[in-house]
Symmetry: C2
Amino acid sequence: MSDQPLVIFTPSGKRGRVAPGTTVLAAARQLGVDLDSVCGGRGICSKCQVTPSFGEFSKHGVTVREDALSDWNKVEQRYDDKRGLTKGRRLGCQACIQGDVVLDVPPESQVHRQVIRKSADTRPMVMDPATRLYFVEVEEPDMHEPSGDFERLTRALKDQWPDQDFAGLTAAPTLLAKLQDVLRKGKWQITVAVYADHTGAAPLVLDVWPGLHEAGLYGLAIDLGSTTIAAHLTDLDTGEVKAASGLMNPQIRFGEDLMSRVSYVMMNPGGEVELTRAVRDALADLAKALSEEAGIDPQLIVESVIVCNPVMHHLLLGIDPTELGQAPFALALSEALSLPASDLDLTTINPRARTYILPCIAGHVGADAAAVSLATAPELSDELMLVIDVGTNAEILLGDKRRVLACSSPTGPAFEGAQISSGQRAAPGAIERVEIDPTTKTPRFRVIGVDLWSDEDGFDAAVAKTGVTGICGSGIIEAVAEMRTAGILDGSGLIGSADQTGTDRCQPEGRTHAYLIHDGSADGGPKITVTQGDIRAIQLAKSALYAGARLLMDERGADRVDRIVLAGAFGAHISPKHAMVLGMIPDAPLDHVSSAGNAAGTGARMALCSITARKQVEEGVTRITKVETAIAPKFQEHFVNANAIPHKTDAFPDLLKIVDLPDVNFNAGSADRTARRRRR
Amino acid sequence: MSDQPLVIFTPSGKRGRVAPGTTVLAAARQLGVDLDSVCGGRGICSKCQVTPSFGEFSKHGVTVREDALSDWNKVEQRYDDKRGLTKGRRLGCQACIQGDVVLDVPPESQVHRQVIRKSADTRPMVMDPATRLYFVEVEEPDMHEPSGDFERLTRALKDQWPDQDFAGLTAAPTLLAKLQDVLRKGKWQITVAVYADHTGAAPLVLDVWPGLHEAGLYGLAIDLGSTTIAAHLTDLDTGEVKAASGLMNPQIRFGEDLMSRVSYVMMNPGGEVELTRAVRDALADLAKALSEEAGIDPQLIVESVIVCNPVMHHLLLGIDPTELGQAPFALALSEALSLPASDLDLTTINPRARTYILPCIAGHVGADAAAVSLATAPELSDELMLVIDVGTNAEILLGDKRRVLACSSPTGPAFEGAQISSGQRAAPGAIERVEIDPTTKTPRFRVIGVDLWSDEDGFDAAVAKTGVTGICGSGIIEAVAEMRTAGILDGSGLIGSADQTGTDRCQPEGRTHAYLIHDGSADGGPKITVTQGDIRAIQLAKSALYAGARLLMDERGADRVDRIVLAGAFGAHISPKHAMVLGMIPDAPLDHVSSAGNAAGTGARMALCSITARKQVEEGVTRITKVETAIAPKFQEHFVNANAIPHKTDAFPDLLKIVDLPDVNFNAGSADRTARRRRR
């Protein structure tokens, strides 16, 4: 037996012998165990806490005696008095190993801790941020050794953090101006935030604080959509979201959808300057609002990560997006970009903060799709996985370990409640769930903000506050699908008359019919109906979505997919069954359809918290095969064929196991010429 | 004998065999011959011109036949028609090697050409700029290969310039916004300016132009002095100075000398912001003025290099200089700095331009001294060399191949004509040369702008335009030295009375005397005298200078130096003999004293034109031993001892060979108590 004590770390299982008297922190470093420390072992940051176990461990073949670690010391006592140390814990930098010992590293003591995520359909998220804190003691200046403060800081980092690579460390003039004062205020002990990303660029000192900085570091994960801009203020140590907020993309005043914004620039050369200004101002405002909401000093926000579609990507960067509006849809830049946040006028956070923009996949498949692929990881899947991020443009990924394909499909805003007669954004008062009794043809529904169905006791009282104001995206999808299963709508998408359907809720409206979901007019509220026009808008949107997915399946030579993941703020609320009745997504066993929530936003947060994730997405996108819907003849064919609801029931055998689709045809004579024209 | 033709390049002498049909440019690349090309061998830039020689070359052992190169081709003819090709020259990218050949590469076809410099006392200057132009043909975008414009540009650079390292190439958003348009305007042929310095940082695309860019690239070499800011607009291809200009440092309104500016900041905390703003604005103005003067598009100015003393260095960077005003004189940053020019608000040049600031040597020995050492290269000298950059602060270097020492000495502004009763800056009308007849004690002089001496025929007419307005730095030095050799001044620095000196030009002034150089009062001009106060000011300045040099000699254990180089805008005009009579510089044979002109400015230009020079200065400063005058007791001792003129004649044996110093002592009784007090 060796004289050197055996140390076993859990949960990693790493073990080895160390010299007696070695601190736990030093032992962890020797054995390659992930044990955090900001203060570098000075007993002030408490990041290196461990829990020793005592007694006999037959599993490990060791007996741990009570004196396996050195006695509780003054530093630990002082820390416990001042801040409290969880019972049983020791400070790894203070406790010395005297005998065989088993030491547990709690999750919060790990640098690269895994973050527990709500959704199972996403890649695990491990903390590995570009910006990290280092506590150092800097040599005081000496007339006989006339180095600069910054050079002495660099030396201190290299000496006191030998495991890190600080080669070429640099800093902006504003940091140099600040460093001088902070060093003296901190009596030559300071905490340094160093940004070192995955690009191989020289590390940067982003900020410095006197003494031990304990207020943390934060980052913004920004999902820059055509319609809304959402951001999550995230703790760069824990990955925790401290505040989330969103605002309308102010570019909407230049055009509701992307192509109208591109047109604006085409018609107004140089107009991209206004669009760029608008979106940059919005980002700066959002960052300010989030730091206020979370009560966090905006100076502590040192990073941001942005995901967006290619047009927003170009407009954010100040690049004319016209090329993206015409073949060959050439991007000005496709690779990821790491730059000072100030280059994007994001000046409401730390002035030296950095921004990372995810790579674009192609002219129509942007950094948002790249973020979805990062979050959902189709390239790691054994099964053939279809990921659909539903929005004004749907980003579609299809693939598995062998190969991943991607395309974008112009669904338009119908799924978001726009272009729908009673449509509205998802907000309290909006109908989000609909069921129609196939016998009585009577609907019942739920509205956002109320837990009861409309036919349950107490609903009227519960809804009184907001009223029933309209129908949102998921609501219209359910309404149309339920109308189809209840026989109110035929396979071509035509609403039957009261006679044909046997319900007075089908009322003539012009030369077509509309189905009444809710009549609030007695109380001064709106009459909420689904009109023939609404059906047509949904048919166009779902045809585009389906055609995109189908095009990728063709490319892959697949008839079916094993798993479907719906993503996007809206995608997360779609009922898979209703989406399939609509023919919006390919057929699949219902339990193989799931939601990944706002996967683009999740991908942004992953890239914010981990440079490994940045490498993964950059490598990942180079392996994605891009399919251009705009030039694929098959896309048009699939689009036209997908008009019916569902377009071909024999393509949906799984669906037919759960719903019985009535064989109705309301196209009696001249009822709807438009429908026939469309179908051709 | 090989089948492959032998190619000999002159003047490098590089030789080797190449496959028949190889172009001269390709052969040069194979053999490592420095042959320039911007267009990459497309016959449009004409940078690769060579002159073939025909006939027998016994020296090289080859006979060059008339058909050693392929025939003059269409590309060459077109180039000759359009722009004219010097007779005998061929385009290296067009002429193919068919037989043994001797090819001369003219200087202008070399990338790393040596720049001929006026002064011999400086390091040779080789063109090796950080920013270079590359002509490339970029692939057009293709829907099936959806890479971005920037990625295709990067690929083109890597493919078409395989000898260059473009790994990690990056660009600012403003460049990406511009690239898109330039690529299309240039029909996918563009010229790219890539900045790649010596730091190992990723190369940067600074700018792009459609087609072949022929208007060149420029840089600013800036000598940022306490009193004046001088800049040279320099061609980054040839090293040629296109325009030079200077302006007063606007910080003067906060204090004439550096310490009074430091005091301003001490008294007005945060006051450095105003000082920083003032100097940055001045730099931006100066850049604008220079580009206008040279008629050069400011967008073509892509680099700047700045040299300055530590206080200006900190104030330029926005760093509080207070620490430099008190022991231990700690610099915030000592190493060289490479940063975007926009970080210094230098926004009147290319928006993506870079700035390089030379390293500081110590808290009192700045980037200006580093630039002087770069230009004069004492570390390469076999002889012990003393380099003195005379200014408000004198930077002094002493050394040879073995070791270099440096210090800074606070001479004050007397040498620049300030604090002198009739003093003025060097400008037309200022007396710059003085001689005094030792018998008659009558002076004669020359003024700036007039070639005649004051006692020559035609002087009065020639000087009528400006008049005689005052006396500049070099004039006052000569006047004082001549007064000493003519017996008007004694060794202690006392001006004799008319009785003592035998000339009426010595007139009482208060309790002391003044010597009249020129009386212009009859024509309404000034009376130019040298007063006792002037002598005292010069004595203080020269004592400081001498004490600094002497301190370094002590450190080095040297009694004498082999060579003295006077540098600085003013230093270049000092007469070595007079400086020695004054005891301003140590004794040395007169022909061993020379001028290096504005060596700091030269060093700035060298660093601007060459990344090798940047490496040299960065490595060089780490090997310089800094000597702090402020804390050296010997400095005070030397200073006090150096008060006399010259302080100890036995220390100046070389001087005594050329001048005969009269042994006079005017200190009769109470004549000058001040002088005695000072000497103690």
